[in-house]
Each structure stands twice: as structure tokens, then as C-alpha cells.
């Protein structure tokens, strides 16, 4: 499995991509393979403060339910809205892009880094590949 080298990773299979002080967050293709196709996603509203390593949401599949962990500390400035339910219009969220393109169209959040926050603690693609290999995948 090839994990993009321009991303950084949490051992819990979330990825982070830094552009300026904005970090885009999603889950890896490996996470989706383990979870199977997502059926429901819960993401925090724009403006929520998130902390590195702490839970920010929930992802469900036919098979299981898992927590999602934030790779970085900061403030949510944007969500991938079509993925989640919109109570105002009663539109149902469709998490299919997370299944089909987890590193691209399936992104979940954009987070503005908290002052002084970095991605230095996250795994590189090489380290994440090594983790998957050591777990026997």
C-alpha cells in the first residue's frame, strides 16, 4: 500500500497535509480497508478547537464504529460538508468519497494550526509504512 509522502500520519491512521498554517485531515486507505466502506460520519462544527491526539469525530461502517483522532491542535475552519448530515435541510451525509478517495475527495476537516503547533510529532509516510508492515499488513 502506498501512502503519499507529502502527508504526515497518526498511528491511528489519520493523515495531515500542511499548506501555510492550514492542515487538511482525513483517514488513510489502510483505515478504510480495515473499517470497510463508511456508512456514517460525525465531524465537529466549524469553530471547534481540536487537540493533537484527541477525539474529533466518529466513523461508522456496516462492520464497526471507530473514533477519529486529530493529528494536530488548532481550530476547525472548514468541513467536507457533503460527507455529513445537515440537520437544517435534513440532507443526508454521504461518506462515499472517504471510501473511494481517502487521500483526496474524502478529506474531512481543514484545521488552522494553533499558535506554536506543528506536525513534527506525526509519522512520516516511511514511518507509517513501517508501522503497517510491523503489524503484519
Amino acid at each position: 500500500m502506498s501512502n503519499p509522502t507529502n502527508l504526515r500520519y497518526l498511528p491511528t491512521h489519520e493523515w495531515a497535509r500542511l499548506e501555510g498554517d492550514i492542515v487538511t485531515v482525513g483517514v488513510t486507505a489502510f483505515a478504510i480497508e480495515q473499517l470497510t466502506e463508511p456508512t456514517y460520519l460525525e465531524l465537529p462544527p466549524v469553530g471547534t478547537a481540536v487537540k493533537a491526539g484527541e477525539k474529533f469525530g466518529i466513523i461508522e461502517s456496516y462492520k464497526s464504529t471507530s473514533d477519529l483522532y486529530s493529528p494536530v491542535s488548532g481550530t476547525v475552519i472548514e468541513r467536507n460538508e457533503p460527507l455529513v448530515d445537515d440537520p437544517a435541510t435534513k440532507r443526508k451525509g454521504d461518506p462515499k468519497p472517504v471510501n473511494d478517495d481517502p487521500f483526496g475527495a474524502g478529506w474531512m476537516l481543514k484545521i488552522r494550526l494553533a499558535p506554536g503547533a506543528t506536525l513534527d510529532h506525526l509519522l512520516t509516510a516511511e514511518q507509517y509504512d513501517a508501522q503497517l508492515a510491523s503489524e503484519g499488513h
Binding site: T36, E37, T39, Y40, I58, E60, S61, Y62, K63, S64, T65, D85, K92
Partner: protein, 342 residues
């Protein structure tokens, strides 16, 4: 691949939803070789089965298959199994996770002349399930399987070797389960797929059985749940004579306070999982044993246990899903019943 009852098994091939829909609308195949297959023969084979099995054995016709439970002395479920009656022996199909436990139990309770022959590792078992299953198996084996009745079996020849086929399954659809020697197992698997069957993994097996309201050992069925609580009273025969657990079950028949298995439909797309508390008026009244978003019904469904007074269809309850209370309503099982076509 995931570990399951000592086997490595695929959760999915093409995707749980796609596999699930293939079984509901066409035909899917499942490699269920993990299920334990034991041949029971000898002069006292029937007596052993009558002693450990809640369903009746003596009244079975040759070629008939019966579902039932193996209970402990307290009436708790040690396993749910299928018994096949052949002209000169019986076969038992046992859950993978319970294979050693049940083999030891059978060995412990046999008297007189009984041979227990574990065929799990030299045979392959494949389930062929869905409305098109009958055409597929008739084409591969013999047209006469079309006349095989539900819960009946017959011996089979496939590529010069002997096996058997039954009209049984764990999906709520019409279908068959086939056992052949391992040497031809792969050929049969490939021939079924070549004939249009969609390979299905454990994920779809679970969502299909859940929609069909079928219990899974280790979830709905355990050593501390009895068949009456589990809604399997139909598989306990009171007119058959003594069997292990009978005395405890007779006493339990009139007890209306013990939790019973029920179906829940949630007012949310979120899935209730095993262990989620079930609440009534803010108080915990039971526990979910299995739950998922139903790929066919597109509703969140779950099974669990609550006391009978709260288990009537229409009763409003709630499920605590990771700290979020979701409204749920008791609904009759099964959640899905296949349309009658023949």
C-alpha cells in the same frame, strides 16, 4: 483477513454492501469451511444426539436437517448446530469457535458404540445463497437439486468424489450449503464464481443474518442464555424425552422475568453495537448483542435482550451509542423476510 474462530477469514471481497445486495437479488458464495463438520455414526449415535440436542432426532427422515441447541445442565446454550440424518449416520455442523468444546462434550456424553469423526480439515463447505442459487447449483451438479426441500440434504457426486448438499443457509434467502472433499473445494469455488456468483466475506454474512433475525453464537447465544430467552423455543421439543438442560428449561418456561431477545429499529442512521445499553425512561433495561446499518432496509437495526414486559413490538426504547441516546422502537423479528416466489 481477520482471525475468526481460529481461522483467517476475509471480511469482504468487493465490499459489504455490494456482496449483501448480490445475495438479496442474485447469488453470492461464502467459504464457510471454518464451520466444524463432524460425522456421528455407530449403533448409539442417535441416542447420543437425542441426549445433547434440544430438537428431536428420532423423528427425522433420512435426508432431513434440523436446527437445534446443545445446552448445559442449566439450560444455557453451549452451541447452536445443524444435525443431518443420513441412512447410516449423522452429520453435525458446529460453530468454528465451539468445535473443540462440542467435540469434547459429545465425547464425554457418548455411551456404547459411537464414532465421532471430525471432517472439518479434509472437507470444504461453501454456502451458495440468493434467488439465483438454485439455477447455479442445478447447472453445476444435477437438476434434481431443484426438488430438494428446505432443510433437506442429499449426497452428491462432484468431479468423481463424494460430498453432500443441503437447502440451508444463514442469509434469509433461498440457497444451499455444499460440502466436498478439500481437494476439489477450490475448483468448486471457482466454478461457482465462473457461473456468476459473487464471493462474499464475513461482513456480508453478518449483515445478512442480522436482517434475517438469525442469532450468532457469542452474541445472541451464550452459556448463560437459554433457548427460550433467545426465541428458539421452536427448536426445543418437549415430547422427545430427556436431554441435557431439559429440567432447567422446564422450570424456566413459566418465568416471565428473564430477558428475551428482541429486534430494535433505531431512529438514526447510526449503528448500535454489541454492549450498547438499552434504556426505558432513562433507566438501563438491557443490552444490545448485535447491530448494524441494514444494507438492504437502509435502517439501523439491532438485536438485544430486555425483559418480556418491554419486548412487545411498538414499545419505545432508547439505545446509548457511545454516550448519545438514540430513540428506538421494538419491531418483530426478522427485520427482513424474503418475498415468496415459489
Amino acid at each position: 483477513m481477520v482471525p475468526f474462530g481460529g481461522w483467517d477469514m476475509p471480511v469482504q471481497y468487493s465490499g459489504i454492501a455490494a456482496e449483501h445486495h448480490a445475495v438479496r437479488t442474485a447469488v453470492g458464495v461464502f467459504d464457510i469451511s471454518h464451520m466444524a463438520r463432524v460425522n456421528v455414526r455407530g449403533r448409539n449415535a442417535m441416542a447420543l444426539l437425542e441426549k445433547v440436542f434440544t430438537n428431536a432426532v428420532a423423528t427425522m427422515k433420512v435426508g432431513q436437517v434440523r436446527y437445534g441447541l446443545i445446552c448445559n445442565e442449566q439450560g444455557g446454550i453451549r452451541d447452536d448446530i445443524l444435525v443431518y440424518r443420513w441412512s447410516d449416520s449423522f452429520s453435525a455442523v458446529i460453530n468454528a469457535s465451539n468445535r473443540k468444546k462440542i467435540l469434547a462434550w459429545l465425547d464425554q456424553h457418548r455411551e456404547g458404540e459411537v464414532t465421532l469423526d471430525d471432517r472439518t480439515f479434509d472437507t470444504t463447505m461453501i454456502a451458495v445463497q440468493g434467488p439465483r442459487a438454485v439455477d447455479l447449483v442445478a447447472g453445476i451438479f444435477t437438476d434434481s437439486v431443484r426438488s430438494l426441500k428446505y432443510y433437506f440434504a442429499r449426497p452428491l457426486r462432484y468431479r468423481e468424489v463424494d460430498g453432500f448438499i443441503s437447502r440451508t443457509g444463514y442469509t434469509g434467502e433461498d440457497g444451499f450449503e455444499v460440502v466436498v472433499p478439500s481437494a476439489v473445494g477450490r475448483l468448486l469455488w471457482e466454478e461457482l464464481i465462473g457461473g456468476g456468483a459473487v464471493p462474499c466475506g464475513l461482513g456480508a454474512r453478518d449483515t445478512l443474518r442480522l436482517e434475517a433475525g438469525m442469532p450468532l453464537y457469542g452474541h445472541e447465544l451464550t452459556e448463560t442464555i437459554d433457548p427460550l430467552q433467545a426465541g428458539l423455543g421452536w427448536a426445543v421439543k418437549w415430547d422427545k424425552g430427556p436431554f441435557i438442560g431439559r429440567t432447567a428449561l422446564e422450570a424456566a418456561r413459566t418465568d416471565t422475568t428473564r430477558p428475551v431477545r428482541l429486534g430494535l429499529e433505531l431512529d438514526s442512521p447510526r449503528a448500535a453495537r454489541e454492549g450498547c445499553p438499552i434504556l426505558a425512561n432513562g433507566e438501563t433495561v438491557g443490552t444490545v448483542t448485535s447491530g448494524t446499518l441494514s444494507p438492504w432496509l437502509k435502517k439501523s437495526v439491532a438485536m438485544g435482550y430486555v425483559r418480556p414486559a418491554l419486548a412487545s413490538p411498538g414499545t419505545p426504547l432508547a439505545v446509548d451509542v457511545r454516550g448519545t441516546l438514540l430513540n428506538a422502537t421494538v419491531v418483530p423479528l426478522p427485520f427482513y423476510r424474503r418475498p415468496k416466489t415459489t
